[in-house]
Subunit: 413 residues, 2 copies
């Protein structure tokens, strides 16, 4: 894409009311727009990165047998009354609106109830199990404070997968598969080394659950990490009993601030019982379906990556989720650089081409702020000598590459 055509521009200053580093950088770089506290729109470059994260999650969910659907934000209140969660005392962050006839209409803050109810006509027999269903859907949560940028919004997208199994052991086996898929996701988006499977409270669903926590000073959680064993315990369940049950030792656990980037729950029959999601077993006996749920917020993941990897110059995107792989800068050498842009684009190498009529200093600063993995600079002199300067966003070294060999250079790495 030619940067002169892109409608967004970067800015020197973030809005004064924006406290979080991730939103400050994303707004400055023109990736997101702040609609209000906790509500962010995605602009072209931000949407590209967001969709790449979504694409990676989708691939991993499909790989473990997930079938994609899209449920709604507006919800039938009767379904939520069945489990007691329609009550504002039980769930304190509902957004509710009203139909013309005055009846309450809730906006989904999660989808366990409607997903369980939706499956009823499709699950009758043990032969219909197991099934795994997921979606990328907007959740609405009435947060009192919303100061973590795109990491905790009032409106945000969640990937939520629900598993429907016949037995507890079937659930247990799938739960392990889902855990491995989650590890692949965090690895692929570039935060695998900082992200730990964390033993945590199950909240209202179950005694225990697992979270994926990324070590980061901007985090709101506290975990105790055993790096050698690649496991952690959330402060909320950090007891001698839990430490012993996990075969860990208190001395080797290090206290860290962290961000919850995913969670997996064994729901058991918490939803299938009240909503009547049952199946007929081989002997004709009716049994409740055993459920699990598995959540990741692609926006929170994006915010976490910004918090974790950015430096004092700006954002640093891992290659798999960068909006473009290459940022190509022309410094007064438009004719030669136009040709390089065409060549790279035709070779399928995603390139943002800074063809703007702007000073070199501005282009360099913008490039660092945007955080695209590779920067190629072509100036007047380098154009004459047929050489381009290639630099990684994360390094200081500048490599000189022949302009005619640029495509091959990037295709081979």
């Amino acid at each position: 894409m030619r940067q002169s055509q892109l409608f967004t521009k970067s800015r020197r200053e973030a809005p004064k009311d924006e406290e979080s580093l991730n939103a400050q950088l994303l707004i400055r770089a023109g990736y997101v727009h702040k609609e209000m506290a906790g509500v962010y729109s995605f602009l072209p470059l931000g949407l590209r990165t967001f969709e790449k994260i979504v694409g990676i999650i989708r691939e991993e969910m499909n790989a473990i047998g997930g079938q994609e659907v899209a449920l709604t934000a507006l919800q039938n209140p009767e379904i939520w009354k069945t489990t007691g969660r329609f009550d504002d005392i039980v769930v304190d962050n509902w957004f509710k609106t009203k139909l013309k006839n005055g009846s309450d209409l809730p906006l989904a803050f999660t989808h366990e109830e409607p997903m369980t109810f939706m499956m009823k006509p499709f699950i009758q027999s043990y032969r219909d199990l197991p099934k795994y269903v997921y979606q990328f859907q907007t959740k609405f949560r009435n947060e009192t404070r919303a100061k973590s940028g795109i990491m905790r919004g009032r409106e945000f997208m969640m990937k939520d997968l629900y598993s429907f199994s016949r037995t507890q052991s079937d659930l247990d086996a799938f739960y392990e598969q889902a855990a491995l898929a989650y590890e692949r996701i965090f690895e692929r988006v570039g935060i695998g080394a900082s992200t730990f499977k964390t033993f945590a409270s199950g909240g209202v669903f179950s005694k225990y659950s697992h979270e994926y926590q990324t070590i980061c000073d901007a985090g709101e959680d506290i975990i105790f990490v055993d790096e050698s064993k690649n496991i952690a315990i959330n402060q909320e369940v950090f007891t001698d009993e839990v430490i012993a049950a996990l075969g860990l030792e208190k001395e080797s656990l290090v206290r860290k601030k962290s961000i919850e980037v995913g969670n997996i729950f064994k729901l058991g029959t918490s939803f299938s019982d009240p909503l009547g999601l049952t199946y007929k077993d081989e002997d004709g006996e009716s049994k409740p379906v055993i459920m699990g749920c598995y959540g990741i917020g692609p926006g929170r993941l994006m915010g976490t990556i910004v918090e974790l990897l950015s430096d004092d110059k700006g954002i640093v995107w891992p290659e798999a989720i960068a909006p473009f792989r290459i940022h190509l800068l022309s410094l007064g050498a438009d004719e030669v650089t136009d040709g390089v842009y065409r060549t790279l684009t035709e070779a399928g190498i995603e390139t943002l081409y800074d063809d703007r009529d702007a000073r070199a200093g501005e282009k360099f600063a913008d490039s660092d702020l945007l955080g695209i993995p590779y920067r190629i600079v072509i100036g007047k002199r380098s154009a004459e000598s047929g050489q381009a300067e290639v630099k990684r966003r994360t390094g200081e070294d500048v490599e000189t590459v022949s302009i005619t060999e640029l495509s091959a250079y990037f295709q081979n790495r």
Copy 2:
């Protein structure tokens, strides 16, 4: 995809409270789930078709220079107060909710105001124009009656593009480009021949606008069509003056029921004036940006296609948007058909494989209901003779094709 793995099943009967043909068929075929009146979730096959429609619209918007963003559902009320549209008397179908502090929070029924406001930091000079920005975003509309299935929902996705131009003639030129893009979209999704550019009222935005109306008895609109000139007039502006202005003759215009599948508006400065979206001209003078907006609902398009093309056996999908291109039925010949499925899939031909343990009659009825363009049947006898039976959903003729030549047969058409 193997149908035995798909979690949805078709049903003989639609829900009793569902009045619209499109939702009746889509629910029976397992494409959508009715959450409540006017609120439908998309299930795996339905989501595939929906996403194909989205993909076609996206390609055409990108082709005319559109840049994709994703704005939010939750809205800053102050922006809407600027244009007067926050008032429930001015806009009678708002859904509003409340923040914890008790202040009103609206759910977007459209996005002119936030889109105009969002552009302010990015448009300063004439050099920043023109720009074209679009999104696929959920709209929430508090409809009193919601009885048209997925054609008119309380929650639905809209593609809305906004153009930002320097002059009226720049807007006029882009408006014509957008109109051509819309015509390509309706052609590609299979309703081009039934869809007419229709002269209509501009509502609150402008005196006149254009709608795209698809002739269909399930429609809520009345238009007067001149088929030879490929143009129509909406009843709401069907006056002698308009007929004459368009160079038409009353006698050659035929009254038809129709569905509005898209609309394009010249907004002028209706939003840039109150929201202060201005640019500095070459002489340093500040001028309001001239805007246009261009809407298509992919869900309404999907519903319209079902209404228009279905027959008494079920849905009929045009090939470009069918969830799969081929429905492969094994009638007791699983071993041979497994191989055919692998071959077709490896050749990149999208195939739904009915490998279920079900009677032939059920498989045939299901196949007609699902509406996939080509049906391939392999039975015991045909497996032995190495032949498959190929039939189009829209035809009666059954063609015999050698099993070894099936891939080539479909790759060449």
